[in-house]
């Protein structure tokens, strides 16, 4: 679950989401990935490290290049977004159940 947290926080950045979208089309080098963004290669590399440690992408060594691709579990992790929405809603409404019970008892009127 911790991994999912990391994945989700890695996904909170639009540049990183765009990088993932590109990698969904296939393997790319850092230079190729940096091209569409108004960003330096070191800045892109930093994003790639975040994605890599979140388990969303994998990199291999090919000479001086380190091409990136989506990690096997990465796509599934992204898919978890909706599952997380479901989980967040479930947690919310379970709390709301408790609150509604509390509201029924006149004494415990919502004091704060």
């Amino acid at each position: 679950m911790n991994n999912l947290d990391t994945a989700f926080s890695a996904l909170s950045d639009p540049t990183r989401r765009a990088i993932l979208a590109r990698l969904a089309l296939g393997e790319h080098t850092v230079m190729e990935l940096a091209q569409p963004f108004d960003m330096s290669q070191p800045a892109i590399s930093k994003h790639l490290r975040v994605l890599e440690s979140a388990g969303l992408i994998a990199r291999r060594v090919e000479g001086a290049k380190r091409p990136c691709r989506l990690a096997k579990g990465g796509v599934e992790a992204i898919d978890q977004w909706l599952a997380m929405l479901r989980r967040a809603l479930t947690a919310n409404y379970d709390r709301l159940d408790a609150l509604l019970t509390e509201m029924k008892t006149p004494k415990t009127r919502t004091k704060r």
Binding site: I19, D79, Q80, A88, N92, R95, L99, L100, T101
Partner: protein, 154 residues
């Protein structure tokens, strides 16, 4: 208590339903009184809502700010559009992560269901142009795939 259902509808909608063991009046109040909203609209465990602005009237402002112990935080802003007391709330909302997500138009209905309430929340995601933009991001790609999977599951 009946469980949450969450499914997609057409290209732009997400529909959530949930039953509550309390009358529509109470469920509606819990959705429109900031002191109550603050107690339950917290998402996963570990988050609190230090700021809760919820002006339940047409054009009234919505602003929810969440925080966790690790110093994380994000917020949501929105506006109420239409309110029919105890029956229906229409509002628009967007997340700030901190980049702002496209507007999500939400209609929430509360219907009597025995001694309880059936809540139906229908989210409408933006137009095709915005959707295309959204699709260019990895997260939404994933969401799309999940929707399809969910539709198959449900």
């Amino acid at each position: 208590m009946s469980k949450l259902t969450l499914k997609t509808e057409g290209d732009k909608h997400i529909v959530v339903t949930r039953r509550f063991a309390a009358p529509p009046e109470a469920v509606y109040r819990a959705h429109t009184d900031p002191k109550l909203v603050q107690k339950w609209l917290l998402g996963p465990e570990g988050w609190t809502m230090p700021v809760c602005i919820c002006e339940a009237r047409p054009q009234g402002k919505i602003r929810y700010e969440w925080a966790n112990e690790k110093g994380g935080g994000f917020y949501l802003t929105g506006e109420f559009i239409e309110l029919e007391p105890h029956r229906r709330i229409v509002h628009v909302e967007r997340m700030h992560l901190p980049d702002v997500t496209p507007d999500n138009h939400v209609e929430t209905r509360f219907e009597s269901d025995g001694t309880g309430t059936l809540m139906t929340m229908r989210m409408t995601l933006p137009d095709v142009e915005t959707r295309t933009q959204m699709l260019s991001t990895g997260m939404e790609r994933g969401m799309e795939a999940s929707y399809v999977r969910l539709e198959r599951m449900l």
